[in-house]
């Protein structure tokens, strides 16, 4: 459904130097896929997300939705793309209009992308909030009047209300307390199982990513250094960077520290 073909992105940095944010990358994402993309700051994860969403144009290669170039989509095709591919980002505070209610934010894609009437959209909001076990009373509040975990659930509701075929989660739980992370991760997994949609889970946190993914893509310095089945990448990493990353987690885990 989304295909990256040798997609690359360069930026012009200070002193006119060229920054290679993302080196040529091939990736195919279909509904039903669960792809985890891990890497640290500066590894190119966010650039990849922006390319997949059509928010930026690749400097070389292409990003295809079905068989059309994402950056060239317009009209009904663009609307279809926005319906099929949705994002849940990291910063829930800045992704909501502070002056409007949460209900308003969740309802908007239903009005604009699905073309529902206000009454139909409101019913859809209630339905999606119920599926996430969110108290519908909260939806009359403004974003600053709910906790970070609740706000993230509204961000998820806003993405799920159009029934996307592919959900892109960019550091979606990184800012949440560990007690809330688990619940949100479970909600992503439930959604994928219920709807058959694909999930692209992008994070620097390996355990959460591994939990949600069948396939892991490891990025480092703008390159994909390794990809494969999740248990292979976690337990038998091939690239030295991946081995170092998994080693850091093992160092902090129960079995290793007690042995140390």
């Amino acid at each position: 459904m989304i295909t990256a073909k040798a997609a690359a992105k360069q930026y012009r940095g200070r002193d006119n130097t060229v920054v290679h944010a993302l080196n040529p990358l091939d990736l195919v994402i279909e509904p039903g896929d669960r792809v985890g993309i891990i890497g640290e700051s500066g590894s190119g994860k966010s650039t990849l997300v922006r390319l997949l969403l059509g928010l930026e144009t690749p400097s070389a290669g292409s990003i295809l939705y079905q068989d059309g170039e994402v950056s060239q989509l317009s009209g009904d095709r663009l609307r279809q793309f926005r319906r099929d591919v949705q994002l849940v980002g990291q910063d829930t505070t800045s992704s909501f209009d502070p002056l409007r209610s949460l209900r308003d934010a969740v309802r908007r894609p239903a009005l604009e992308i699905l073309g529902l009437t206000v009454a139909e959209a409101d019913a859809a909001v209630d339905e999606v909030l119920a599926s996430l076990a969110v108290d519908p009373e909260l939806s009359s509040r403004r974003p600053s009047q709910v906790s970070g975990g609740q706000r993230q659930r509204f961000a998820i509701a806003r993405a799920l209300i159009v029934s996307p075929r592919i959900l892109i989660c960019d550091e979606s739980v990184s800012a949440l307390d560990v007690s809330v992370q688990g619940a949100v991760l479970n909600e992503f997994k439930d959604f994928a199982e219920r709807s058959g949609a694909g999930i692209v889970f992008v994070s620097h946190g390996v355990p959460a990513t591994a939990f949600l993914s069948d396939r892991l893509v490891v990025m480092h310095g703008g390159d994909v250094v390794e990809q494969g089945d999740v248990s292979q990448v976690v337990n038998r990493p091939k690239h030295p960077y991946t081995a170092r990353l998994m080693g850091a987690y093992r160092k902090l885990s129960a079995d290793e520290s007690s042995a140390a």
């Binding site: 500066g42 560990v178 688990g182 946190g205 999740v230 170092r244 850091a248 902090l252 520290s257 140390a260």
Partner: protein, 283 residues
């Protein structure tokens, strides 16, 4: 660098019945109550808890850095040689002598206008009479000590010209160059990647061990707490729910809250688990 460790008090921190309140438009908000903690010199203690648990309020109170609108009360509050309860209030909060703090966000904690050399030099000169030239040399040595490979360049750089990890190393150098008795590290690596977190915690714990500095670390990361603390204090909603030897508490928590917190931290051992444990129902 010669460490003039000298005589140290047996306990770096002795706090009993600490309460921290903030003045809000709706009246007083109590962030911390009934907090008691004794830390003997040279120990590494981690305070763990979620957002809103009061862990940062405790640490800022112990460092003397809470704003004027905050009220700190305690039956005992001795930090190194300072009695917090007998300390005069000033318009601008001032740090307790012998205490250094490493903050979570080095970008905000460092001054964007001055070079690293100038800020580190100021911290070194604050310790005692040292010429500017000598402070410069010591600053370079401290940068090497915190693992910066090209100290000459970094001394001339301003904070925004450095990576997040480098900035955090600079802040560690600034905090430790005064050879403090107590280092308070407030989520020192939570904005950083895990490989870097591990490197920086290794650095902090080895330098504090060399200097004989007591370490009080705030974190929400059970893994960091497990690997880098001797004792742990678990906080929830402004109160201590459990404290003790780190290994014991994590292996066999006595409070339900601690057990729930441990159970819901995702680990690499859960690849095939269908669902993650959540905290629903625990309060």
């Amino acid at each position: 660098m010669p460490g003039d460790v000298g005589l140290r008090a047996a306990n770096a921190v002795e706090v009993a019945d600490l309460r921290v309140r903030y003045r809000t438009p709706d009246g007083w908000f109590t962030a911390v109550s009934d907090f008691s903690l004794t830390v003997s010199s040279g120990q590494r203690v981690a305070i763990v808890g979620e957002s809103g648990s009061g862990k940062s309020s405790v640490c800022m109170a112990l460092a003397g850095l809470l704003p004027l609108g905050a009220a700190v009360e305690a039956t005992t509050a001795r930090i190194i040689e300072t009695d917090l309860t007998a300390r005069p209030t000033r318009a601008i909060p001032y740090q307790v002598p012998g205490v250094s703090v490493v903050f979570q966000n080095a970008m905000n904690a460092l001054d964007p206008v001055w070079t690293v050399g100038s800020q580190l030099g100021t911290a070194i000169r604050g310790r005692g009479a040292t010429s500017r030239a000598r402070a410069r040399v010591l600053a370079g040595e401290w940068l090497e000590r915190v693992g910066i490979r090209d100290p000459a360049r970094v001394l001339r750089a301003r904070p925004y010209e450095l990576s997040g990890g480098m900035r955090q190393r600079v802040m560690i150098a600034i905090a430790l160059c005064s050879q403090p008795e107590l280092l308070i590290a407030d989520e020192p690596t939570s904005a950083l990647d895990v490989t870097l977190s591990v490197d920086l915690l290794e650095l902090i714990t080895s330098l504090t061990a060399d200097l004989g500095t007591t370490l009080l670390m705030i974190t929400h990361d059970i893994g960091l707490c497990r690997a880098y603390s001797d004792r742990v204090v678990v906080m929830h909603r402004g109160r201590v729910v459990e404290q003790g030897d780190t290994e014991q508490v994590l292996a066999a928590p006595s409070a339900d809250y601690t057990a729930a917190l441990l159970a819901c931290a995702p680990s690499l051992g859960q690849l095939n688990d269908h669902r993650l444990t959540t905290m629903v129902g625990v309060s």
